[in-house]
Symmetry: C2
Subunit: 637 residues, 2 copies
């Protein structure tokens, strides 16, 4: 008997046999829960609470203070039915927040094992076909390749092409196995390519890689193409970071000539390769088993991964070399995979609306619904797509690096010690929680949104972001550079120094959130629809996943609509990439989407600038847009 276990607030879900302990279930769901004692029921760090369903709590002695809060030990509690488990922030292992697509989670083998392709038919880009050919005779003397392709055609693999490297091995392999062979074929633009032929019939399934190439982080999913099961998820920082935090600095470096472009390519391919190698090592599989790859990244990242010069992406009129890159072979770009593995790149819409967005839209329901929806991915750039099954329009606005912790005096990435939640009470006292529960080192994007919202609510700043210097807040102080507000005193911080937010920080945040909101409004104006027409808002990406909607609405970053309209997609770029890997249909739709989405260039016309100016207030100059926001009714305080 197997039961479904859902972990909230992460919404990681897994199907496990009865009696599985929650620690193991969480791991299977892609969630790391602390467990210093190794699951012996001793350390008490794996405490969770049961929201729904039934577990056997075992006979562990749970500390009194945990019991009072209604908590149980995940390592002891055994699943006895479908269960919803709440995992407190402090019980989570958070080395860093690279979203590896947790919300999809490894599954045990079930009838739903092919869910990775989402709504699309399961038709993976690579497959293993075990063939038994009649041995040739003097009268049945077709060539080896003709014999093989005729058999594959019968099996539905039409338009088969064979790289020289495979053809060169074919005669010996076929005779080595008395013409019982395993064929590893991958989908190209036109049909199938025989990536490998091996003596058969072995158990070795074909593997695929879904890759999300983010400017900041890269994520790799190692997928079994026969079952659709994700075997491993790995994520880490993009090693290109040493060449600059944002795409512009990467482009500038790449444009300097010589080996610079190659350096950037090697940095990102090296990042992906390390993740792939780890995943392969963990599963005991060979790189030669990987025969199909789908990469999704923003337009610049796609260029850099393929070493295609991105130079003109940053220069008006912002033209990429390509949006649809065609297929390449793993060997051409140095990927750890079978040398002839077929590599697809999810196509882009334009220079600043890339394959990651197309992939994200694919992973959402936007292109299949009659209702109008908005897709938002907030990072250094804010990218957004508005539309439904009939039409889609997209734009990108430069939000700056604030939400990734850049350009803010106390900003940092969402690594351990980053403040991710901030509350300021009416007296101006500050409460924070950090990633990993460690001593605070700075504030990450979601913490900054909380912070801005809280400071406004407490009256520390006014709607234009001005510090209310005469209100007597004990944590507000003047420095030679202007006013600042201390969030954490040195005695509580990791390095002993105060952590404070300055007037300039607030201005930068207002510009960033103003740009995002102005982008949304510009899209709506372009199609002449009111905000109310939007039935659903998808929030994608790393920053979005840790965002507190109420605070984000309160500062005017995202629209003030009913909270039920918000859907968090997590890392939708990797999800879409995986859908493409597992479904030719999804890949074809990605291609179609990239052509279908109309790109709105915000630097043309005055709409965006007007909207931007209006959106630089908290929450906005037009308060009617934010009816639910407390204080919006109060006017400027």
């Amino acid at each position: 008997m197997a039961y479904r276990v859902r972990f909230v607030p992460d919404n990681a879900e897994v199907l496990v046999p009865e009696g599985t302990d929650l620690l193991r279930a969480a791991t299977l769901a892609g969630l790391q829960i602390k467990s210093s004692c190794g699951g012996d029921g001793v350390c008490g760090r794996c405490a969770v609470s049961i929201r729904e369903g039934r577990v056997d709590e075992g006979n562990a002695s749970i500390p009194e203070k945990l019991r009072k809060r209604g908590l149980v030990l995940a390592c002891r509690a055994r699943v006895m039915g479908d269960t919803v488990v709440f995992v407190p922030e402090e019980s989570k292992v958070a080395t860093h927040h690279v979203l590896t697509g947790d919300a999809e989670h490894a599954r045990l083998l079930t009838e739903k094992e092919t869910e990775g392709a989402g709504r699309y038919a399961f038709s993976p880009l690579g497959k293993k076909v075990s063939v038994s050919l009649d041995e040739p005779t003097l009268t049945e003397n077709a060539a080896d390749l003709a014999r093989l392709t005729a058999r594959l055609k019968k099996g539905g693999l039409d338009e088969v092409e064979t790289p020289l490297s495979t053809l060169r091995r074919l005669p010996r392999v076929l005779r080595e196995c008395s013409f019982r062979a395993d064929v590893y074929a991958a989908r190209t633009g036109h049909g199938y390519s025989i990536v490998d032929v091996r003596p058969g019939h072995k158990e070795t399934s074909a593997l695929g890689l879904a890759v999300d190439i983010g400017t900041t982080t890269c994520v790799v999913h190692l997928v079994d193409l026969s079952s659709g099961i994700t075997l491993e998820r790995r994520g880490s920082y993009n090693r290109q970071a040493r060449y600059g935090d944002d795409v512009i600095s990467r482009i500038i470096h790449a444009s300097e000539g010589g080996e610079k472009l190659a350096e950037l390519q090697q940095a990102v391919i090296g990042t992906i390769n390390d993740l792939t190698a780890e995943a392969l090592s963990e599963t005991g599989r060979s790189k030669d088993d990987v025969i199909a790859v789908v990469m999704a990244g923003n337009t610049t990242m796609s260029h850099l991964a393929l070493a295609v010069p991105p130079d003109f992406i940053r220069l008006e009129p912002y033209i990429p070399a390509a949006t649809h890159f065609g297929v390449v072979r793993a060997r051409e770009i140095g990927l750890v995979a079978h040398p002839e593995a077929v590599v697809h790149t999810v196509p882009s819409v334009a220079s600043y609306v890339g394959g990651d967005i197309v992939s994200g839209v694919l992973a959402s329901d936007l292109a299949h619904s009659d209702e109008v929806a908005l897709f938002i991915d907030i990072g250094t750039n804010g990218e957004m797509v508005l539309g439904n099954r009939d039409w889609m329009v997209a734009c990108a606005c430069s939000a700056g690096p604030c939400f990734e912790g850049g350009g803010i005096s106390c900003g940092m990435r969402a690594t351990p010690g980053a403040i991710q939640r901030v509350r300021v009470d009416a007296d101006g006292e500050v409460y924070v929680s950090t990633v990993g529960g460690e001593r605070p080192s700075g504030v990450c994007g979601s913490g900054l949104v909380d912070c801005l919202s809280s400071l406004r609510r407490a009256g520390v700043i006014d709607r234009s972001g001005q510090f209310q210097t005469d209100a007597g807040f004990p944590r507000m102080r003047q420095t030679p550079d202007g006013w600042e507000y201390v969030l954490v005193w040195g005695r509580d911080s990791r390095n002993g120094e105060d952590i404070a937010i300055t007037e300039d920080d607030v201005k930068n945040l207002l510009r960033a959130k103003g740009a995002v909101y102005a982008g949304i409004r510009s899209l709506l104006r372009a199609v002449d629809l009111p905000m109310e027409a939007v039935e659903r808002i998808y929030i994608a990406g790393g920053f979005g996943s840790y965002l507190n909607v109420q605070d984000a609405v309160a500062i005017g970053l995202i629209p003030d609509v009913s909270p039920e309209k918000y859907v968090f997609l997590g890392n939708s770029s990797i999800k879409g990439a995986r859908m493409c890997l597992l479904s030719e249909e999804a890949l074809a739709e990605a291609d179609e989407l990239a052509r279908k989405i109309t790109y709105l260039e915000l630097s043309v016309g005055n709409t965006f600038m007007e909207e931007f100016v209006s959106a630089m207030f908290i929450p906005h100059t037009d308060l009617s847009l934010f009816p639910s926001v407390e204080g919006a009714k109060e006017g400027i305080r």
Copy 2:
């Protein structure tokens, strides 16, 4: 005013302006006529005779003995109308007889310039397209590649793919030339590939290579793909010869493992590359201008050129790795050409009926005619195809190396000094002529056929090849190894030694000619047709081109049919390859032909062996098959 000049017996033809001298016309036709004085009308070595038409003989003093024979000096005689010119063997420069496709000849620019594609529509595999794109703006901001492919699509180039190397250069090239570029696109299996993009609009046309990969010789045609004109023809010996004279010894070497296969590949690719480099140098063109290549060779040669193991071609049941090889890029096999040049290999029918034969059939009219025709290519193997537009059946028989001068004590290739014509008078006196008119060194294939025929006619040998030792021929003598007949005494030979043909030589020749004729008969028996049903016989290849039909019929090598039925194709392998290069339609037909031709395996059943035994006599045991042969009526002498 331009006139057509045809040179016989080579059948080289050219269209030249009125007043062109015949020496120049011959060069244009690809024929080298001797001219020691440099065309000054002094040396008299360029003597030719006018068979038809009109020339102005000029005022040169032609030597009396030439005038008596009705000869004129080619360097003085100027074309005044359509002309047929006979070039005596002694007037030809014959460095070696590699058939570079002379019968097609360079043409002056005329309306017929695209004749190289023969009956097929002129649609070359590569083309240059000069495009002027609108420069991108903020509102017309399609990616460079999208902008380019949309324009190409308008121009009829659909399904365009772009290799990474081209895409990587695209952005800079387009901006360097203000979006006026020259696109070099080549046909792949599925559409077009953008091999190169260059700042435009330049005069540089796209070039292609047609390559004939023979076991003995390689021939390269450098073709201008815009006009269809062949700019250069080059031929030389296949450097693989050091690994053995025939395909079997090459296969054995290749099968030895390690780098042996690579050695053989490099030898043949090196041969081709030297020819290509010479042709490019002669025309002042760059290798990067070569964007499409069509190679035609026998099945083993095709394997070796691509470094695909040919091992199982020589082992029963004689299975090649492939007959249809797909397209590869020049860089993959190291060809001198643009690295991304698309390389097509004319497909094979089976292990011993290769792309050279398919190419040859394409160059003949066989597959387009209602009448039944026979195509014969005699080399180490005798390959033949029988059929018409509705059906075709092919076979191969091992003729042995005799006709290429191998396995014969006095045999040699058709290089200068090789005896190519032999006459034996009733007294047994011998008259010979040699390639290049030089002192004789040995006898080449066509000379051996003449020799066998003459010896039989003179009564030196009987129908079974037995030397008539009691007939008192002064040139017949006994040696420790048996009887032999001296063709050239040492005083007249190059190295001072007698040149003689032995009993064993005659036996080998009988086996070789018997195999060819038995193959022809086996094909006819397979389809149950009499010899009379064959309306046309195409003779292809180097040996065939210098063959004296009467002698070949007299020894029973080829069928005794009306001489008008014989058509000499010359190097039909290179002709067919060039047709494919100049016509997608021809390439598609080659593909179709290779699938359509039914391969008859002669080692199955007894037919071939029965025929072989019957064909080991001169001309045959069944004299009714050779009604025209003198002596056939006489019975065994």
